[in-house]
Amino acid sequence: MKAKRFITNTACHILLAVLSIIWVLPVIYVILTSFRAEPGTYKSYIIPREFTLDNYAKLLGDNPILDFKQWFFNTFVIALCVMFISGFMVIAVSYCMSRLRFKMRKPFMNIALILGMFPGFMSMFAIYYILKGLGFLESGALKQLALILCYSGGSGLGFYMAKGFFDTIPKTIDEAAYIDGASKWETFIHITLPMSKPIITHTLLTAFMGPWTDYIFAKVILGQDTKYYTIAIGLWTMLEKEYINTYYTQFYAGCVLISIPISILFLMTQKCYVEGVSGAVKG
């Protein structure tokens, strides 16, 4: 019995090791290329002949056309705003859908399902013209505000994941709180939210990561204003024909730099996943 368990465990660990190599290799390639001293694009080898920090130094130095620091700051502010706005929206809507009962509940869920089936940017040109009509596209700062609104505006529809989570929290906990005289709002704030750390983390993280990776909306709304670009669209610009030969390795340096804060953030929040609510109604 013990030997059998040992074999299974070893097999599992080896499998995990092989899989993680497959998953990590491309990432390592990105990191290696970011330190590559040889300029230009593709090479016929993988490990750089010579290593350098120049790519990072150049990237973070002053550059009036492609200002990486500025992009980083822009994206950070936008992502922070989106995180709070759409995090609030998603949690609020999913709690209502899971725990409260009202007439519009089922219709809203059906409408959300229907809306989710239309391609996301099918109506993008309409959003663009609406924002233009409202005067949002006249200055760079307003464009950024418009971008925040675009990212967080419809986020109330993405409630499925969190609703599924709230559905698994036993109802008896809520009922116990009502009997003790708590209002529904107090139950939500003091009972449900503290028990839902995993899903709140998940929601906030997803919302925060959106602006870092989206470039379609950013491209359409920000246009040619490089000073107000977000990271994604800025890096994308580096791969355009007129820049790619000079900026190829710097592009990878930029990728490494923006991946660092996101992974740190993830490490900080990862421990929230571990605490489930499985023990909440014991005894």
Partner: protein, 463 residues
């Protein structure tokens, strides 16, 4: 006596909030009936001034909007503008000047906004009538009439959903619903590259665009059907492979015997931390003709000449599905981990006491639970894959290009084709039609499955 002895069917509610709008109107007194037209009247006359004035202000605001602007906007929406922008010779200045013509795009947009506001006002009319009826009901029954303070308090109790949902719903209306209705209407016009406002007007053409997509023979139709087939194949493969792979990986990491769980999780999560378009672009580099993957294969002596991964249609499709698996599995792993940890521990303990082995526990407890919680998520991910723009656009850009297609390639999904048509070709009407057809496909597939799943029918199964 009075209203409640008229008919038996009207007996059924003991709270006025359960009455339908029709019941409120037929059973209401003259003040209640008038409240459907003069908002807040019943409230103001019964000392609920704050609530009544709020209703009245909404109505007055709407009327002012309609008289100054709205009625004209509705008229413009029917014609979509009549005056074309023209060049006129200005003799005094000696130059050509443009006369300001109508802008069909704005006509349509303002029309949609006006219709939405009108729907909202009908909704408020019903609210006002119901509110007046509730007050009348309470007065006749000798119950206390809620003050403004009570209204505020109810937000924390039975009306909590109103407070929590108001803001998200406004966001959805402005950024999802209005643009969507606008785009759907564009599908019935000839808003293509030859009819661009403000220089030109576009007009209603009925179902012309749809018939050119669905009828056989035309260039649009012979692009649409193959692209649709590939979209469906892609979505099924992408969803199933990622879900199964991610679930197995999560179980592998979460099983009791696995050491350093956090480390393994971290290894897979690294690829999420790298922004998706970066991984996609580097994958494209890796699979380029002289990229690292071919270099490795050559080094191992498996091939002599580089393989062109994105040039052959079939090969390109397989490569894309594999790369998507690489991207998708950590995401599923992450979301299933949260849910796996949430499975009540008693279930496992009870199963163990009853002598169930690991396989039975997985099959009888873990799987039903995961399917219950994740089905809506699976459907969302299926729809997400049909609309998965990033993977296709950044990896292959829809290529290899197919000369028989109308501005599309062999790996183009409906949604990337839509993008090419709207952003590059400015054929907004064709883009809108593709959007609607995509929706029809998705709706027919997933609404049926969704309604038949346990988590929709029986929400409380695990509560």
């Amino acid at each position: 006596m009075g209203i409640f002895n008229k008919k038996k069917s009207e007996h059924y509610f003991n709270k006025p909030s359960n009455a339908t709008v029709g019941q409120c109107f037929t059973m209401g007194n003259s003040i209640t009936k008038a409240s459907f037209f003069v908002f807040g009247l019943g409230n103001i006359l019964n000392k609920q001034v704050a609530r009544g004035v709020a209703f009245l202000a909404i109505e007055i605001g709407y009327l002012i909007y309609m008289i100054t602007f709205g009625i004209g906007a509705l008229g413009d929406m029917v014609t979509l503008g009549t005056a074309v922008q023209e060049e006129v010779w200005n003799d005094a200045l000696g130059i050509y000047e443009y006369t300001k013509g109508d802008n069909s795009m704005l006509c349509l947009l303002f029309g949609v906004v006006t219709i939405m506001l009108t729907i909202a006002i009908v909704f408020f009319a019903c609210m006002s009538g119901k509110s007046a009826f509730a007050t009348q009901f309470r007065k006749e029954k000798g119950m206390s009439i809620p003050t403004f303070k009570d209204d505020l308090h109810s937000i924390k109790e039975e009306n909590l959903h109103v407070a929590m949902m108001a803001f998200p719903i406004v966001g959805v209306l402005v950024f999802t619903i209005v643009p969507l209705i606008y785009t759907i209407l564009v599908a019935f016009t000839n808003y293509d590259r030859d009819h661009q406002p403000p220089g030109n007007l576009f007009d209603w053409v009925g179902f012309e665009n749809f018939s050119s997509f669905l009828s056989t023979g035309g260039r649009l139709a012979s692009t649409f059907w193959p692209v649709l087939c590939w979209t469906l194949i892609w979505a099924i493969f992408a969803t199933v492979t990622c879900y199964v792979g991610g679930l197995i990986l999560a179980l592998l990491i979460n099983r009791k015997g696995t050491k350093i769980k956090g480390f393994w999780r971290f290894m897979f999560v690294i690829s999420i931390a790298v922004p998706q378009f970066v991984t996609l672009l580097s994958m494209r580099t890796i699979f380029a003709e002289n990229g690292p993957f071919n270099v490795i294969l050559k080094g191992m002596g498996l091939i002599d000449t580089p393989i062109y991964w994105f040039t052959d249609p079939t090969l390109a499709r397989i490569v894309i599905i594999c790369i998507n698996f690489w991207i998708g599995v950590p995401f599923t792993m992450l979301s299933t981990t949260g849910i796996l940890q949430n499975i009540p521990a008693e279930l496992y303990e009870a199963a163990k006491i009853d002598g169930a082995n690991a396989f039975t526990i997985f099959w009888k407890i873990t799987m039903p639970y995961m399917v219950f919680v994740m089905t809506p998520n699976l459907i969302t991910s299926f729809t997400g894959n049909i609309n998965n723009f990033n993977v296709i656009f950044l990896l292959s850009g829809g290529g290899p290009n197919n000369m028989d297609y109308y501005f599309a390639g062999d790996t183009d999904l409906l949604v990337t084709w839509l993008y090419k048509l709207t952003i590059n070709q400015k054929d907004y009407n064709l883009g809108a039609v593709i959007g609607i057809l995509t929706f029809v496909v998705l709706a027919s597939v997933s609404l049926i499955t969704y309604r038949n799943t346990a988590s929709y029918k029986d929400e409380g199964a695990f509560q």
